[in-house]
């Protein structure tokens, strides 16, 4: 058996490599994403004051620190048994919406976008953010930069710092929002809506109007029927900051809806010897291996998953685009939802629809009369000793679970991070792509990139996934025979 390794996988946040095993005929036998890192956050959080955790755990990931910060501070609300005042919850969600705008923008233009905008077969030297700027023009490049920049400013204003903010405290938020800052944020939210609409238009022009790309999107290579997970509010509509966890079956039927704190009754994890990352699956369906279908506990938690779970979008413009997406792929209506879209590359589209939602939601919050209320904190007086906090991180449902002693010192921490949810689906997508693109041992650069595309559409953040201890996601092809002996190593040079 031959073994092909893609190492490092570039343009993703964090570390990992793709391993492809070929059989004697040179066809794909097995493929997976190996994550060679584990950093031990759960272990060294033990013995710290619980209040430290929003600041410690966000260092798991510099791409989505805000997600860890929020999940952590929500877990603390539970540990200290406090319900933050409405203004505090709204400020948290406002910051979180600004974060979604920057994060989805970064992914579309800098990380996943180059595959489409510059083209999957373009030379590697052009397949990057600079290539994107080259293709769409410097002015648009500047708009992308400006979008990131203004939203970072919002995060700094609300959260105290840009990367790794500090605003979250158990029982609320550490500072109220001033009217002059609110006015500015309102203006930024409006600019974000324009920018999101512009990005959807660009996606329409570059991808949807190009039949080659569209065929790629709807090809079998990137098609998987699994369960989908996403947070929903009381109207069963998408929310990033809070709600119940909803899981829909591949048919689109609701499988279960549960409160985040009950996650242990619904999610279990599987260990494989070849990777430091664990594979979560639906406990009540069971682990049947890396397979699609109703009988397999594999689920997916991505922008596409969230749109597959929600009963429509809570904001008007996002709702229009949501309908357009499901209708384009021919999904039938299922009550207020649609049948799930299983084309995984549609995740890029879904991400832009979420970008629009985040911008619209940001405007709603920035114009909420309560947002400038000085009442942003309830001081905790009791210690309950256990709490679960859950938010919808850009890369999937994120859960922080802490236990403390009577002094509020952490005795136990368990984290199920966004990307990890998608670990099994990612491995399956890689295998499918590899099977169709590599035959008789023939592997070329364009093919490898398409395999990487299978992987990047999940926007995996391996910094997060590897919160657990060692670090490196770096492409090299290693060929192994059926006994596992290395026959040859081919470095992928550019």
């Amino acid at each position: 058996m031959k073994r092909v390794t893609i190492d490092p996988i570039s343009r993703l946040e964090g570390h990992g490599k793709i391993e492809i095993f070929l059989n004697d005929e040179g066809n794909v036998e097995n493929a997976y994403l190996q994550v060679p890192e584990l950093r031990g956050f759960e272990q060294f959080s033990v013995g710290r004051h619980a209040e430290d955790l929003p600041v410690i755990t966000q260092r798991i990931c510099g791409v989505c620190p805000e997600a860890h910060h929020m999940a952590s501070v929500k877990a603390l609300d539970a540990v200290f048994n406090v319900d933050p005042p409405p203004a505090a919850k709204k400020i948290r969600e406002l910051l979180y919406s600004a974060f979604y705008v920057t994060d989805h923008t970064t992914h579309f233009y800098a990380l996943g976008g180059p595959d489409f905008i510059v083209g999957p077969d373009a030379p590697p030297l052009e397949r990057n953010i600079l290539g994107v700027i080259h293709k769409v023009g410097v002015d648009i490049g500047k708009q992308v930069i400006a979008c990131r920049s203004r939203n970072h400013q919002v995060i700094k204003t609300l959260g105290g710092r840009g990367i790794h903010p500090t605003g979250g405290v158990p029982g609320g938020w550490s500072k109220a929002l001033k009217e002059e800052d609110r006015v500015n944020i309102e203006k930024i939210a409006k600019e974000n809506i324009e920018f999101a609409l512009f990005s959807l238009k660009a996606f329409d022009d570059i991808v949807l109007k190009n039949s080659d790309y569209l065929n790629l999107v709807t090809s079998d290579i990137y098609h998987h029927k699994t369960y989908y997970m996403g947070l929903v509010d009381k109207n069963n509509q998408l929310n990033f900051y809070d709600g119940m966890v909803r899981v829909v079956a591949p048919s689109g039927k609701e499988f279960v809806k549960y409160e985040a704190k009950d996650y242990m009754n619904h999610i279990a994890e599987r260990v494989e010897p070849w990777t430091y990352l664990k594979f979560p699956y639906l406990k009540n369906v069971g682990w049947k291996g890396f397979v699609d279908g109703e009988d397999s506990g594999v689920y997916c938690a991505t922008p596409l998953s969230r749109l597959n779970c929600t009963d429509g979008m809570p904001t008007p413009k996002a709702q229009e685009h949501y309908q357009q997406m499901f209708e384009t792929f021919g999904s039938k209506k299922l009550g207020k939802r649609y049948e799930p879209v299983h084309f995984r590359l549609a995740t890029h589209w879904a991400r832009l629809i979420e970008l629009l939602y985040a911008a619209e939601r940001m405007l709603e919050l920035a114009t909420d009369p309560e947002i400038t209320s000085p009442d942003v904190r309830v001081i905790p007086t009791t210690i309950k000793g256990e709490g679960v906090g859950c938010v919808e991180a850009p890369r999937g449902t994120l859960t922080h679970h802490y236990k403390t002693d009577e002094n509020g010192v952490i005795t136990h921490a368990n984290l199920i991070v966004g990307t990890t949810n998608n670990y099994a689906p990612i491995s399956m997508s890689i295998k499918r792509a590899a099977e169709q693109l590599i035959t008789k041992g023939k592997v070329n650069e364009g093919m490898l990139n398409k395999v990487e595309m299978a992987f990047r559409l999940y926007d995996p953040c391996l910094s997060c996934a590897t919160h657990n201890l060692p670090g490196k996601m770096p492409l090299q092809i290693e060929i192994k025979n059926s006994c596992g002996e290395s026959l040859d190593i081919i470095r992928r040079d550019i």
Binding site: P8, S10, R11, L12, G14, H15, Q34, P36, E37, L38, R39, G40, Q43, F44, R59, C61, G62, V63, P65, P114, P124, L125, R127, N128, I129, L130, V138, G141, I145, R148, S149, G162, I163, H164, M264, A268, E269, R270, V271, P273, W274, T275, Y276, K278, Y281, K283, H412, N414, S463, N468, L469, P470, G471, M473, P474, E478, G484, R492, D493, I494
Partner: protein, 183 residues
């Protein structure tokens, strides 16, 4: 003179330092004018294609692979910069040093964790391709010579920008109070 060449990597870091490089915002366009990028996770160049002038390292070393990458950076770059607390001191991941052993970390993650349900053979990942986890997290300068250190977690975009401009132009570095203050 041809443009200086820059390479970057993330070892045991959180990618926040790389995000901070992107946070120089529109100056990115100036940077592209000033320098050429080689191996870096933000482009598609995966191996060194030529000798570089400046290597920027994020993150310390927590496994054998980190050490290997750091050494290749030293061999291929004239100047190496430790960017951020993780590279400079081991940073937050170094909280495991002298506190939890690698064995404990592994057992907690794979055997004792509350959500691990499906591990009948009590496996701890052991594939030969997986790098070894080091006994502790090491700052970069304990492994190779580092020429410059930029503190902060993450270092401010302005600090990174000022330092790069000073290095590239050979002029003294501009260090106003707001930029030196870091947390």
């Amino acid at each position: 003179m041809s443009k200086p060449i820059i390479a970057t990597t993330s070892l045991a870091g959180c990618f926040g330092c790389h995000m901070s490089i992107l946070d120089i915002d529109e100056r990115i366009l100036d940077l592209i004018e000033l320098v050429e990028f080689n191996k870096s996770p933000i482009d598609d160049i995966k191996t060194f294609t030529k000798k570089c002038d400046i290597g920027i390292i994020e993150g310390g070393c927590c496994n054998s692979e980190n050490i290997h990458v750091l050494k290749t950076f030293r061999e291929n770059c004239k100047i190496l910069i430790s960017l951020g607390e993780c590279a400079r001191t081991g940073g937050l991941p170094a909280m495991r040093n002298n506190k939890v052993t690698v064995k404990e970390c592994l057992e907690e993650a794979y055997l004792n964790c509350v959500t691990v349900d499906d591990n009948p053979d009590n496996i701890i990942p052991n594939d030969e391709e997986l790098p070894f986890i080091l006994d502790k997290v090491y700052p970069c300068h304990e492994i190779v010579k580092i020429d410059y250190f930029l503190p902060g977690c993450a270092p401010r975009a302005d600090l990174i920008w000022n330092a790069l401009v000073a290095l590239i132009t050979g002029k003294p570095m501009d260090l106003p109070y707001e930029v030196v203050k870091y947390d």
